[in-house]
Subunit: 434 residues, 2 copies
């Protein structure tokens, strides 16, 4: 197999797989004096995942939350980006096999993140809508709008009910924020767009297996979020598990629901690649020590969602952006230190707090001992997300969209650029009912 | 077949097919007091086609040039939009057949516009890239960026040359503006993005069958545009016809060229639908009288690119946005007049001038006797396009993009959201060499 076209130098080569929050941080902080840096990603852009739900609900365009990787690192020396897919790693030969050739490395950083976890249910995997990438969020946006157009084109009331029921599975931040944004569309945008459709018949249901929402936050935040959602008209069903879905009916331990749209935000699992020693894999993630090194290797690291740091307990650090960023910072520091003959420092997680927004002026936030709600939490949310969005232009466009949407109660980007349903028969290749 | 779900009223029903410049104008100006108005379009948005080339070259996001139809007409009374595809018209029964059912009409307005004309060459049709719609412009954007990424992944120099040669066919405004925008990418953006690629090797060729560019404008504008393009590094080949293309080599009457990308802007033809009397079709367009009425019918009209008004000469009015808008205005006026028992007025074309921009500070414009070039023409172009973009938000975002790109020499939206090549094997279904 041919080798990937990267110049040979005297420097040690660090290969990073994945341009998520963790991977970007390693590249930013790693010294070009000591290392040749090669970044691999299947996309040519970084995705600001916490705002994907705004793309799905027509509030932001993809380019506000996606940023070209080459643009981020245009001034980085000894840096090479390759837009290809990592397939497997040969830990003995220190080679990474990609779709476009083999790449030798001295140090490998696996920052491949996570993907939707369907807990083995293949039918749900094929029929539910995930929301972990920009194309998936755009598919969801197209599907919402296509469903409303289809509701107007049918006179079959059962069909229309199915088209207008939206079931979101998973009461974490993604599910909660998405439900809130959809409720705002329902309350403020859709009645104007579809005057000849009774939008009150649209139902938004948020299903959560546990007994409260936002389990990663305090109990009060969960019940506050539930109250906010109910005020917006979202039906919250706690202690509810989805057992099956056939594209028309959602079967739960509670009741069955007719629905053409099931959105899956119920869990994630590591995006593994081949070649990782089996003993280092635990529940879909890679076991690492307190310097993010994979046990049994001396130069292969895993950071972010994919990494399970066993020193911090059975669940590792939370699978969120701030963990990935902090893992990345610490690893870059350590690699720079090792190049200078210094010893690495162990990772210590610094919880900067968490928050979730539920429509205009409503949010919950938890920063250390401080608990915020309402407009104060919402303003904090806005501020934090704006300052962390990459790039001046993205910030300006996102701000412009949010300001306009705040004052007009409108969400402007209601475009079906790539129809979802018409381009894909969702019942194709459906596995038989088990 | 079921009927399309539109309420019956006492008003006469006007059905408009197509939400381009012409169709929108009819809906805007048509009186809801006299008519029930039904608009059909296969997309849920209006496309501002003159700026598609900016989407293709990463200068603007689709939402800056696409606008949701329901949002435009949210205050229009007696108005119904249906997102479906018109298939054929039954002129006797006054029925329009669509993908989703039958629609009876009293008056039908065909405003289906035009599509790329390959003059019967099926191989070119399948392998060339058109740029008449938002998805096509996005495909082109993806393909450009994928080609550069692929150039870095290959060490085969012949392959790399093919990836870096871009052939644009057609020296009208679309071809000229696209070539200019690509040259700016080459000169200012790509060298930063691809420091390890010799961007000077990228070639942009503009092929035109006639002996000058911009034939619809004065001779001087054409040669000025040619000079501007050459300054930017575009190779302009006049008197050159493409005879064949196999995906790797462009064969012309002049020389052959290795190129993986052939962009087709060489001509358009009417977007016809079934059921139009054959005697009313001439060179792919529909013959209409001076009130846009199709001969032999008393209530079926055609406007814009699809209409060929024989009273103005063998070519009809120019196939541009201003013709469509003026056709639409006049037709709405006439339909409103007819409802009040008044007689229709014949259409008179008012040439408001034409212009083309070729990179920053360079454009040519012709407004009546006034001929502009350079920065004055370019400022006029900017102003006219900004004020005609639909919607406040679109104007603001487009302005923001242009201002930022003007000062930074950057084009920010370099995202491969939907890979073009990897999702489609361009050699599939290729007809045999003729």
């Amino acid at each position: 197999m041919k080798s990937l076209n990267i110049p040979e130098t005297n420097l040690k080569r660090v290969v990073i797989i994945g341009a998520g929050f963790g991977g970007l941080e390693v590249v930013k902080k790693l010294s070009s004096k000591h290392y040749q840096i090669v970044l691999i990603d299947k996309n040519n852009y970084h995705t600001f995942q916490p705002l994907l739900y705004q793309v799905a609900t027509a509030g932001l365009e993809p380019d506000s939350i996606a940023y070209p990787i080459r643009k981020i690192f245009k001034s980085k020396k000894n840096f090479y980006f390759r837009n290809t897919v990592a397939q497997n790693v040969d830990t003995e030969k220190k080679e990474l096999h990609t779709e476009d050739g083999i790449l030798k490395f001295d140090v490998l950083v696996i920052a491949t993140g996570s993907t939707s976890n369907y807990f083995g249910n293949k039918r749900i995997e094929q029929l539910a809508m995930p929301m972990k990438s920009v194309p998936e969020a755009l598919n969801l946006r197209s599907l919402f709008l296509e469903n409303f157009e289809a509701s107007l084109l049918t006179s079959d009331l059962t069909e229309r009910e199915k088209l207008m029921n939206y079931v979101i599975v998973g009461g974490g931040p993604t599910g909660v924020e998405l439900a809130g944004a959809m409720a705002e569309l329902k309350n403020h945008v859709l009645p104007n767009d579809y005057p000849d459709l009774d939008i009150r018949r649209m139902r938004i249901l948020l299903l959560e297996g546990g007994d409260s929402l936002l389990k990663a936050m305090n109990k009060k935040a969960g019940s506050q979020a539930e109250e906010y959602l109910q005020k917006l008209g979202v039906e919250v069903w706690l202690n509810t598990f989805v057992n099956d879905y056939d594209g028309d009916t959602v079967t739960t331990n509670n009741k069955s629901l007719p629905a053409k749209t099931l959105i899956w935000a119920a869990g994630v699992t590591g995006n593994l690649l081949e070649g990782i020693p089996k003993e280092s894999i635990d529940r879909g993630r890679i076991l690492v020590n307190d310097t993010n090194l994979i046990d049994g290797t001396n130069s292969i690291y895993a950071i972010g969602d994919i990494a399970l740091m066993n020193s911090v307990g059975p669940m590792g650090d939370p699978m969120v952006a701030q963990t990935a960023i902090q893992h990345g910072t610490n690893l870059a520091y350590n690699l720079n230190a090792l190049a200078q003959g210094k010893s690495p420092r162990p990772f210590i997680y610094n919880d900067k707090g968490s928050m979730a927004t539920i429509g205009r002026n409503r949010a919950v936030a938890e920063i250390g001992q401080i608990k915020l709600k309402g407009i104060l939490a919402w303003s904090t949310w806005m501020f934090v997300h704006l300052i962390t969005l990459v790039g001046f232009r993205n910030k300006m466009v996102a701000l412009l969209n949010w300001v306009q949407s705040y004052f007009t109660y409108d969400k402007g980007i209601r475009l079906i650029i790539r129809p979802f349903k018409k381009s894909k028969n969702v019942h194709d290749n459906l596995p038989p009912h088990s």
